[in-house]
Symmetry: C2
Subunit: 200 residues, 2 copies
């Protein structure tokens, strides 16, 4: 999140940013900003703040955004499309090397810059391409099976949009996003509203 706003500031030519300013931008507190950043090192200059450009570069490095990551997208539906089209995606070094689906009507169809491939080839392709990240935009029922397949092929991180719990070996990172659950959280907040403000 800090990176997101530091890049903005950098683009605008701002040279330094104090923890106060970053806190305001990110919706947190100055103390939190300082604690977070201090975890990775001592980047700031007392009396002045943090050097925007340097810190931006350092955070990119820490996050591993200096290299290119090969990504496969599984599921050629709307969510998959949204992700593949997402500008900030390639910009950040995430290179989509393949889109897969099991629907015969979709296989072979052009899809953005790529062509939808048969999910039967997924495992082989991941292995050949040495892709490390998989995005799952498929129905819940198929999720665990696909996970096992891509893990076997060498995938090391999974971003899961299927609204279900999936399990991965300890050496694979997993992050799940569940849109229905987000909305239900809002429903709860509205139902039990006593002037509650949601978190960002």
């Amino acid at each position: 999140m800090y990176l997101r706003y530091l890049e903005d500031l950098d683009t605008r030519g701002q040279k330094t940013a104090a923890s106060d300013e970053l806190a305001q931008l990110c919706g947190t507190t100055p103390a939190q900003v300082r604690k977070d950043l201090s975890f990775f090192g001592s980047f700031g200059k007392r009396g002045l703040g943090y050097p925007v450009h340097e810190l931006t570069a350092r955070l990119r490095e820490i996050l591993g955004l200096e290299r290119e990551w090969k990504v496969v997208i599984v599921g050629a539906g709307k969510i998959g499309a949204a992700l593949a089209n997402y500008r900030g995606f390639k910009q950040r070094g995430f290179h989509v090397v393949g889109v897969y689906d099991n629907n015969p009507d979709k296989i072979g169809q052009p899809w953005g810059e790529a062509i939808v491939r048969d999910i039967a080839d997924l495992e082989r392709d991941v292995e050949r391409e040495q892709a490390l990240i998989a995005v799952l935009a498929i129905p819940s029922d198929d999720a665990q099976q696909v996970v096992e397949s891509v893990v076997r092929a060498g995938i090391r991180a999974i971003l899961n949009f299927a609204p279900t719990q999936i399990s991965v070996p300890p050496n694979v990172s997993l992050k799940s996003v569940n849109m229905a659950m987000e909305l239900e959280g809002l429903s709860f907040a509205l139902t039990n509203a006593a002037g509650s403000k949601g978190a960002a």
Copy 2:
């Protein structure tokens, strides 16, 4: 999350579920399950577990899913489409009453069951329809402005997909989802991997 899995169990006809079982399904611990549920009341039977059907109903009530929520989607791009098409959406009582965009090429076009409307009408429509939830699937630059408009019109909760921090009055709930940030989190995990397992 508990609701998600309790519904599954209910469908399969299971009558009761112990905290142990729920924990396993949700990827947490039995103690956590019991603490979480006890916050809202005492639902279980000692020696037996939680009554699946009853608890399901109670959770729906707590989450405010018994009523219908009117939702407007702002931004007729891929993400907006993914959301509008999402089955679990209507199923959960979220009724999309309008889709808006500011692109003249899109306005008036059919879009699923609806027709894309002019964002200029958004404020008026929200007020007339008494919609309470807005989903923002628009570029960052437009986000804050749209927020102010819909809040003025009576929106009480916002699900934001724009990769930017937005601010809302204290009586409005806000939840942001940032796909780029999720991926960057995975990049970090991979870069600093020491057998790190990501959270669900």
